[in-house]
């Protein structure tokens, strides 16, 4: 109800209060001369004001309930955002650590090839006598290329 965002809570209570007072005045205090003169007008107007007041009070109560739910939801979202960034940090650390281990392992094996494998007599003989054919290299390089559509 947009009207609730314009009217302060106090105004709604005042409208409702005036409605009650007017209705009492119109229906009970009819013996007072001034009230007696405008009795019908007071009754009609105060009943209208009372109906509007009850309507606004109901709306206000509903609005307050929703406002509470919105605040609850906002708190839940804030909590989920914190949780989400915590998980991101956790995942980031896990990936960085795993990548480090993979790179170290690759580097170690390459160093092992440079230091140990190339020194083996069997390998030295193989390198001297059997160079890798160009076709084999080309095929391997082709396989390493991305298979993008052209």
């Amino acid at each position: 109800m947009w009207i609730l965002s314009i009217l302060p809570d106090a105004a709604i209570h005042i409208i409702f209060g005036l409605g009650i007072l007017g209705t009492i005045a119109g229906f009970v205090l009819g013996f007072i001369p001034l009230v007696k003169t405008y009795k019908l007008a007071i009754q009609v107007i105060s009943l209208l004001v009372l109906v509007f007041g009850v309507y606004l009070e109901g709306g206000l109560a509903d609005y307050k309930t929703w406002e509470l739910r919105v605040k609850e939801m906002e708190a839940k979202i804030a909590h989920s955002e914190t949780k989400s960034s915590e998980k991101n940090i956790e995942i980031q650390e896990k990936i960085v650590e795993k990548t480090k281990v993979i790179r170290e392992k690759g580097r170690d094996i390459i160093q092992y090839v440079d230091k140990e494998i190339v020194k083996k007599e069997e390998v030295i003989k193989y390198i001297e006598n059997c160079p890798v054919p160009k076709d084999v290299i080309d095929t391997l390089n082709k396989a390493a290329e991305k298979g993008d559509k052209k």
Binding site: M1, W2, I3, S5, F52, Y55, L56, G59, W66, E67, V70, M73, E74, K76, I77, S80, E81, K83, S84, S85, K87, N88, I91, Q92, K94, I95, V96, K98, T99, I102, R103, K105, G106, I109, I110, V113, D114, I117, V118, V123, Y126, I127, C130, P131, V132, K134, I137, L140, N141, A144, E145, K146
Partner: protein, 86 residues
Amino acid sequence: MKYLLLLLLLAGCSTTVPVVQKFPNATPELMKSCENLKKVEGDKVAITEMLKVIVYNYSLYYECSTKVDGWQDWYNEQKKIFESVK
């Protein structure tokens, strides 16, 4: 009087209160693309040189596979968090 009646009739119109849940940010490491595989360079290549390139490419594969695992992990975790907000 006409305007007052209109005001009373429109008093019940609702207004929406936006509670927006932001799309979660991805882990920066996951946003990095996988490197291209290394190629063997030169015409006369020793088998040990070729072996080193193959070993290096294996490492690249595992690095990339770690990222895929990371994305799956990220998705599952973010889904759990998203579904917990109800």
